[in-house]
């Protein structure tokens, strides 16, 4: 009985705080994406007019944890199969945040664009059982600064 109560409390806490954190995070992502819109990001490998720019490596990374509620929903989804939308939003948040941090570093270095951007995702912290506890997203690329 106590186990069930603890489980339900954790589920509720996860839902309330998780949803709130996610909403706040998305809001701040959209806000910062507007501010950093002038820094362009390309997955193109060749920089046009390469002789006029200076290139340096820039990285941005973030580790985001899932909440208890999401993990539970994903576990249920595992039974029937299909889209696990609770993890989709988690990964989307991670990617956008990583790209934002990359852009911030590029701006600090005075660059106007970032080329050959690569995104890498890895689960670094295993939670209980098979479920992922946290994902790390790394974005890296070459920032180009006009000489």
């Amino acid at each position: 009985m106590y186990d069930l109560i603890i489980f339900l409390v954790l589920l509720l806490l996860g839902y309330v705080f998780g949803q709130r954190a996610e909403k706040r995070h998305f809001k701040s992502i959209i806000e910062r994406e507007k501010q950093l819109r002038d820094i362009l990001v390309f997955s193109e490998r060749k920089i046009p007019e390469a002789d006029k720019v200076e290139g340096t490596l820039v990285c941005g990374s973030v580790v985001i944890s899932v909440d208890f509620f999401k993990r539970f929903v994903a576990g249920l989804r595992n039974l029937v199969g299909g889209r696990v939308s609770s993890y989709e939003s988690l990964l989307e948040r991670g990617r956008r945040e990583a790209i934002l941090r990359l852009k911030e570093e590029a701006r600090e270095r005075g660059a106007q664009s970032v080329w050959n951007i690569r995104l890498e995702t890895s689960s670094i912290y295993k939670g209980s059982g098979q479920s992922i506890g946290a994902v790390e997203v790394l974005a890296y690329g070459t920032a180009a600064k006009t000489r």
């Binding site: 954190a21 985001i64 944890s65 690569r118 670094i124 295993k126 790394l138």
Partner: protein, 104 residues
């Protein structure tokens, strides 16, 4: 030392290839951070301690790669790639590799 992840150094000519250079580091976090991470696993959100740890270790890996490149007499590293793997519970390996070149 110029480090890029494209095949060339912008605006410079590559005169000599010196082969692959790499740098790695295995880090684990202390127990306090693990407990915090456990809590965050209920509430969700960013694990700042882990982000910092991984950023620091990645810088360390890049630094080791640069040291190796300097040792073979290169002045730039091109085509840099990163890879992360968890070797054991609570420890992660950060690996950076690239091609050491001489540019003029």
């Amino acid at each position: 030392m110029i480090v890029t992840n494209i095949e060339a150094v912008p605006g410079k000519q590559i005169v000599k290839h010196l082969g692959l250079v790499s740098g790695n580091t295995v880090r684990s976090k202390h127990a306090g951070r693990d407990i915090m991470a456990g809590l965050k696993n209920i509430f969700g959100g960013e694990l700042r301690g882990y982000t910092e740890l991984l950023t620091e270790s990645r810088e360390e890996a890049v630094q080791r790669m640069i040291d190796q490149a300097k040792a073979v007499g290169a002045n730039a590293v091109i085509n840099v790639r990163f890879s992360t793997s968890s070797v054991a519970a609570g420890a992660a390996e950060l690996f950076a590799y690239g091609t050491a070149v001489v540019v003029e």
